[in-house]
């Protein structure tokens, strides 16, 4: 056929493809995985977070975010904004320094790396236009930025320090390891250098000599030079902090007091200490750590002391760093404490009584309980949107009313064209509703399903509540809580009807909940219905978990989605497929044993079908199956025995020769690696006896021609892991008799795909080849009603092939083989509509799918021709691939880490990406004559936005050099 195809049409199609499809990774939602550094620019009002994988992310006002990635795959250990500039310096743990800038391009800012510098030893801290780098050896190097030119003549060498310090401190070890560097806030020529052993030296950069020294004796953790320059606070590894008053003239510094705040018993180190003055009152003192080692050594705390108030904020994970935002006329009043902990960002309002938490508009920990599934709904009607928001507002009363304090940059992104919801199901049985319309994935509402069931351990919440007079005065903050009380509560499937407000969620223990949106709190009994999916199949005994216990007494449900019915599958296996048809008021569900249809109006089961293969015993194992793990652990323990024998022998022989021993160890490691990973794959044809062939993968409702070509009827389609498709004709009584007349389901067709690959999608196409609209969509005049004149087709998507069958005859019409040709398998699939970027009125439907190789493809509908293919996810990232969801507009989300969604788009027309501008902090006062130092630098930066950037960079360098020499 190919030779008859004309060239003209080909190129025309290619052009059209370019107008329709385009792959971009647009924005990352959620909380960065493994953050390792935090920085803040008070002049830009931007916050920067560095991660262990070398990413650097900047956040300002909601919608303002930037992301950069270091080429080196090393952890970011420090992020430092240049004061009053749009530049920041990052230090990686491979001792490289990187300079980043926000450069403007076409009216938008982008984050670019503009310089790098490799150090020879790890530094401490830095300040000003000069970057001071303290090393482990005790030297302090001075580097000029930007440009990273080392100013050798200014370096503070160990010798210079030694000569200025009394002899009793000169011991080699006292001057090892620069732990902290602080600039005098009122005199930038003075720098305090803190050494690990406790000695602190104040150095004058201009005169290149030590002014004084502070002889602390405890291991130093951090230093803080107070605002007025009169005191230095030092914190130590024994949980104490000291305040040293700097008296002019006096040679000897006096330690005002050594204070161990949580004293008596040994305490852990105070890692960081900050003291901030307030205009009309006592200063704020904030420090992290310092907890009594024995009783609270495992807590992650930041203590805030203000006047008589002292609170130890107890965080959910390790504290990475914290800073305080100050506002007021002179930006001096501490207003908010921003704490970055390993799993979330917590912002505490320090100006409101009780120091409440401010809800973060971004960086929300998606994984506060592990995400088990996600579901996306596009174009939410305004009414439903408002009701969900209203339900969410009621839940969030504990948050501070204060506006988000980080406000840097301008969000220039247009308002999202529609309201999109992303629903995430979690391990603890909650469903979270996120506003996914824009750049910020904002939490709207949280639904908990646990209340429906009798939990084994009713949470003792008062345990965490601080009792009166408790010491330390703990207060729990943050929402990260990865511990699930009962794994059976985990949410596996979600389906929301955006028109009717009906929601169905299904979980790990075969539970299917039907929920309805109610604006009022209501006390109601949830009706439970058990459905036996085995249908009398003999010889099976479920070995997994038991089913959940539904509460029989009425439960008070808060406003929002309230459950009214729960269907429980028997055996209580994980629900693997779920669908809701709100127009027919039916919910279909499937597990590894079969599927069923439940009528939630009449509250009875319409259909139950067992799909279990009699030879499949594995299907009766629960998710906590031990069969495999025993086999595996046996194998591993044998290996361990063998290896230990080998190493024992080697140990005896080569005890004398270290070189041989080392070589042997290396060899052994290699051997062990080979043994542990025998990269070998079995080639075997799939047979009908394979395990889990009966597992239901997909359920779909369709109003189509199943019995004959002249009458369309409601139908249910089910696809299994074994490549079988079942089709049922549903009889649904007319509306007036809907509540009392019986519904029936009649088996109509059954397809057994010859290649037996799991069926992952079923799409019914109407006479125009377009996918059928969603239920109620046409009723709400939001979609063209399906074409019922032309013949319908059903597209069956298996992991290996795409096949189009005619309806109602089910003769095979077209197919596309995927696996047989390139070895990839379909993992996730969705139908999307792609609008042309050139003309408003052209668009077409496409089938979007993601393969196990991590590539996204688009197929044309209804001709199932390959359109485009892009690599999207690393193929090793199995959980990322499994988590992918597609939207109806050709976008997609996948979990790039347990806590972050990556958003991508395949569409040219519909893109959600950050578009923002960050201006240099000071008003442009640029003139051709460079003003000295500070102004010169910042005004030049203003010009970095111009194309003459390289020239001006040189100018800055020159001016800086001029200043220094």
């Amino acid at each position: 056929m190919k030779r008859f195809r004309r060239h003209g049409t080909e190129s025309q199609r290619d052009r059209l493809k370019q107008e329709l499809f385009q792959f971009t990774k647009t924005v990352e939602h959620g909380f960065p995985h493994q953050p390792s550094a935090l920085g803040y620019s008070s002049s830009l009002q931007l916050m920067a977070i560095g991660t262990r994988s070398g990413a650097i992310k900047l956040y300002g006002a909601p919608g303002v975010e930037f992301m950069g990635l270091h080429d080196e795959n090393a952890a970011v250990t420090q992020v430092f904004f240049m004061p009053h500039q749009v530049e920041l310096v990052t230090l990686l743990d491979d001792n490289s320094l990187h300079m980043w800038t926000l450069r403007s391009h076409k009216g938008l800012s982008e984050l670019l790396e503009i310089g790098r510098f490799l150090l020879t030893g790890p530094p401490g801290c830095s300040g000003g236009e000069l970057l001071l780098l303290g090393t482990e050896g005790g030297h302090v190097f001075i580097v000029e930025v930007p440009g990273f030119r080392e100013l050798e003549e200014m370096n503070i060498s160990l010798d210079q320090i030694t000569s200025c310090v009394p002899d009793d401190y000169v011991g080699r070890r006292n001057l090892e390891h620069v732990e902290a560097l602080q600039e005098n806030p009122i005199n930038s020529n003075q720098v305090a250098i803190g050494y690990g052993r406790g000695l602190m030296v104040i150095w004058d950069l201009n005169h290149r000599c030590a002014i004084r020294h502070i002889p602390a004796t405890q291991q130093l953790e951090s230093m803080w030079w107070t605002e007025n320059g009169s005191c230095i606070l030092s914190s130590h590894s024994d949980g104490s902090y000291c305040c040293w008053t700097l008296r002019t003239g006096d040679k000897k510094e006096e330690e005002e007091k050594s204070n161990i705040p949580y004293g008596h018993f040994p305490c852990k180190a105070i890692n960081k200490i900050v003291q901030l003055p307030t205009a009309g009152g006592p200063p704020f003192l904030l420090f992290s750590g310092g907890m009594p080692r024995a009783s609270y050594g495992d807590r992650h705390c930041i203590t805030v002391i203000y006047s008589k108030t002292q609170v130890a904020f107890d965080f959910t994970s390790r504290i990475i760093d914290f800073f305080v935002i100050r506002d007021g006329p002179h930006h001096t009043e501490p207003s908010a404490l921003v704490v970055l902990v390993e799993e979330e960002l917590v912002v505490i309002d320090l100006q409101t009584e009780g120091w409440p938490v401010i809800q973060t508009p971004y960086l929300v920990p998606l994984h506060s309980s592990a995400i088990t599934c996600s579901y996306h709904v596009s174009a939410i009607p305004l009414k439903l949107w408002e009701r969900i928001i209203a339900a969410g507002v009621v839940q969030n009363t504990q948050y501070s009313k204060k506006l988000w304090p980080i406000t840097g940059g301008q969000n220039l992104a247009p308002d999202p064209p529609q309201r999109d919801l992303l629903l995430t199901g979690h391990e603890d049985g909650t469903v979270r509703f996120w506003d996914a319309s824009g750049v910020c994935l904002y939490p709207l509402y949280k639904l908990s399903t646990a209340a429906v069931f009798n939990a084994d351990a009713d949470l003792n919440d008062n345990m965490s509540q601080s009792a009166e007079g408790e010491w330390p005065p703990f207060r729990k903050v943050g929402c990260f809580d990865p511990y699930s009380d009962d794994p059976r509560l985990g949410i596996q499937k979600i389906h929301l009807c955006k028109y009717s407000g009906y929601l169905t969620v299904a979980g790990t223990a075969g539970q299917i909940l039907m929920l309805e949106l109610n604006d009022e709190a209501a006390e109601q009994t949830v009706e439970a219905k058990v459905v036996d999916l085995l249908q009398g199949q003999e010889g099976f005994r479920w070995k997994g978990h038991t089913q959940l216990d539904v509460r029989e007494e009425p439960v008070l449900f808060p406003p929002g989605f309230q459950p009214f019915t729960v269907v429980q599958c028997q055996p209580p296996a994980v629900v693997t497929a779920l669908n809701l048809h709100s127009e027919w008021k039916l919910v279909a569900f499937g597990t590894s044993h079969g599927f069923g249809v439940y009528d939630y109006l009449q509250k009875n089961t319409v259909l139950v079908k067992c799909t279990l293969n009699p030879s499949d015993q594995l299907a009766m194992e629960g998710p906590l199956s031990r069969v495999k793990s025993i086999k595996k652990s046996l194998r591993q323990s044998f290996r361990r025995i063998r290896r230990s024998r080998v190493s024992l022998r080697k140990h005896h022989i080569s005890n004398t020769n270290k070189v041989i021993q080392e070589a042997n160890a290396r060899l052994e490691a290699e051997l062990a690696e080979m043994e542990l990973a025998p990269v070998q794959r079995k080639i075997e044809a799939r047979s009908s006896d394979d395990s889990f062939t009966g597992l239901v993968r997909i359920l779909c409702f369709a109003d189509t021609f199943l019995s004959d070509s002249s009458h369309n009827t409601p139908s249910l389609w089910a696809g299994t892991n074994g490549g079988t498709v079942f089709a049922y004709i549903l009889y649904i009584p007319p509306v007036e008799h809907r509540a009392d007349e019986a519904l029936t389901a009649q088996p109509a067709k059954e397809i057994q795909l010859m290649h037996r690959a799991p069926v992952v999608g079923i799409v019914v196409l109407d006479g125009h080849g377009a996918p059928l609209p969603e239920p109620l969509e046409t009723a709400h005049d939001l979609a063209r009603s399906p074409d019922l004149l032309g013949s319908h087709h059903v597209l069956v998507i298996s992991e290996e092939q795409f096949k189009v069958f005619t309806l109602p005859k089910l003769s095979s019409k077209m197919k596309l083989k995927l696996t047989a040709v390139d070895g990839s398998r379909v993992r996730r699939v969705g139908v999307a509509w792609f609008g042309s970027s050139r003309t408003e009125d052209y668009g077409e439907s496409g089938l979007v799918f993601l393969t196990n190789q991590g590539d996204v493809h688009v197929l044309s509908l209804p001709h199932i021709k390959m359109q485009i293919r892009y690599p999207c996810i690393r193929r090793e990232d199995v959980s990322g691939i499994a988590s992918c969801v597609f939207t109806k507009q050709g976008q997609g989300f996948y979990l790039m880490s347990p806590s972050e969604f990556e958003r991508f788009s395949l569409s040219t027309r519909y893109l959600v990406e950050p578009r923002c501008l960050v201006e240099a902090p000071l008003p442009p006062v640029f003139s051709n004559q460079h003003q000295p130092k500070l102004e010169g630098a910042s005004s030049a930066l203003r010009y970095m936005l111009s194309p003459y950037f390289p020239f001006f960079l040189q100018e800055i360098q020159k001016s800086l050099e001029g200043d220094q020499t």
Binding site: T611, A685, T744, A820, G823, R875
Partner: protein, 406 residues
């Protein structure tokens, strides 16, 4: 492929208890008639009746019928004739063949095997009414159960001699394909010199498996292609999935680790293989007698080969999806059947009593629905022996579709 079956309007007749529906077939022709269950005589009478109905007076024929288990059993005396009538369920299907002297062995599943021999397999009994429409007796060249595909070396004439292309043919045997593959390093000669590239190798053969029993594959053979698709740049998992996806008809091109058997004399070549591979022995021999091009002289010997076309001819292989139609069933009658049968969904297992409505007297061979005949057509491709027999059976079915018998 698309067989335009004439939509024939058929009026279902009431099932009368003491009448047996008989559907007899001689060559491509069908006859349908009723038979009184009790009032009919013996075998001879029936034999003559059939001769009358089919207008084949004076032709020596054999009568066979399909019993409820899908077995093809003979009718040659009164006793088995009565047995046949009593087992009609509800249709008694008779197949008339010309007596040609060769004995047919009747065993269990012989109907199925016969179907397979003709390239008709995988048909669900739901469509049993149309089975015989495809069963062209004129096609039977020999006893079909002796004529089947076997695993063999193919395309010897177009491949460089250091390569070997092997078709692993399962042919319904219960044997597993039985081999494992692994990652490895392969040495290639390129214009730049010797280069090490990642490759995929056979790592293990399962004892008693198909791969081992054919003797055509060995451990450490490098796999270069799967069903005509070059594996360069493919990961082990991709190759695994490709092989599994093609497992019903797997053609692998390997570079044998042991190159000594490549230019072996004809005899040793054959003896090397399993006895089953004799069938292709001749072609190997003839190909080897040609001067096959040396690998160095061909830049890309594999992709240039006809293997892709080869793959194409098997393109429809797995199209034999089985489609069950239940639309002419009343649900209450259906339930017991599906519950017992569809759980044991074996595509060859017979379904009984599904069709309560029977077309009257004369019908088109495939009047039971295009999808059925369609699926069976697909089926014919699947196990249709050589390319030859596929095309011929296809042709014959076209004829089938056009035969209208009154």
């Amino acid at each position: 492929m698309s067989r335009q079956s004439q939509q024939q309007h058929r009026t279902p007749i009431r099932h009368i208890d003491n009448t047996v529906e008989v559907k007899s077939k001689f060559e491509a022709e069908y006859r349908r008639f009723g038979l009184k269950r009790n009032g009919f005589g013996g075998f001879q009478e029936f034999y003559h009746l059939l001769q009358n109905i089919h207008h084949i007076h004076g032709v020596e024929v054999l009568l066979e019928y399909a019993d409820i288990h899908g077995d093809l059993l003979p009718i040659n005396n009164d006793e088995n004739f009565h047995k046949a009538v009593s087992s009609a369920n509800p249709v008694l299907r008779i197949i008339i063949t010309k007596k040609e002297g060769d004995s047919v062995v009747y065993t269990t599943n012989s109907l199925q095997r016969r179907r397979k021999g003709l390239g008709l397999t995988g048909l669900r009994p739901a469509g049993s009414g149309s089975i015989h429409s495809k069963n062209k007796s004129g096609l039977m060249i020999g006893p079909p159960q002796d004529f089947r595909q076997i695993s063999s070396i193919i395309d010897v004439d177009i491949l460089p001699e250091s390569y070997r292309r092997v078709r692993l043919h399962k042919y319904g045997s219960k044997k597993p394909l039985g081999f494992y593959i692994r990652d490895g390093v392969s040495v290639r000669v390129t214009p730049q010199g010797v280069e090490k590239v990642p490759g995929v190798f056979i790592s293990r053969l399962v004892r008693g498996g198909l791969a081992e029993s054919t003797g055509l594959l060995a451990v450490n053979d490098e796999i270069l292609e799967v069903n005509g698709i070059d594996l360069t740049g493919k990961s082990l998992d991709q190759v695994t999935d490709m092989m599994v996806a093609n497992s019903h008809n797997l053609i692998v091109t390997v570079k044998p680790a042991n190159q000594r058997n490549n230019v072996a004399p004809r005899g040793s070549k054959n003896s090397m293989g399993h006895s089953g591979s004799v069938g292709s022995g001749g072609s190997i021999g003839s190909a080897l007698s040609h001067d096959s091009p040396s690998p160095a002289s061909q830049s890309n010997p594999i992709t240039a080969s006809s293997s892709i076309a080869e793959g194409d001819s098997y393109e429809e292989d797995d199209d034999g999806d089985v489609i069950l139609e239940n639309d002419c069933l009343s649900p209450n009658k259906y339930y017991p059947v599906t519950n017992s049968n569809s759980s044991t969904l074996n595509r060859d297992s017979p379904h009984k009593g599904q069709h309560s409505a029977i077309p009257q007297s004369v019908s088109m061979p495939n009047s039971l629905g295009t999808s059925l005949s369609h699926s069976s057509t697909m089926m014919s491709h699947h196990n249709g022996g050589s390319t030859h027999s596929v095309s011929s059976s296809q042709e014959s079915m076209k004829e089938d579709g056009n035969v209208i018998t009154l």
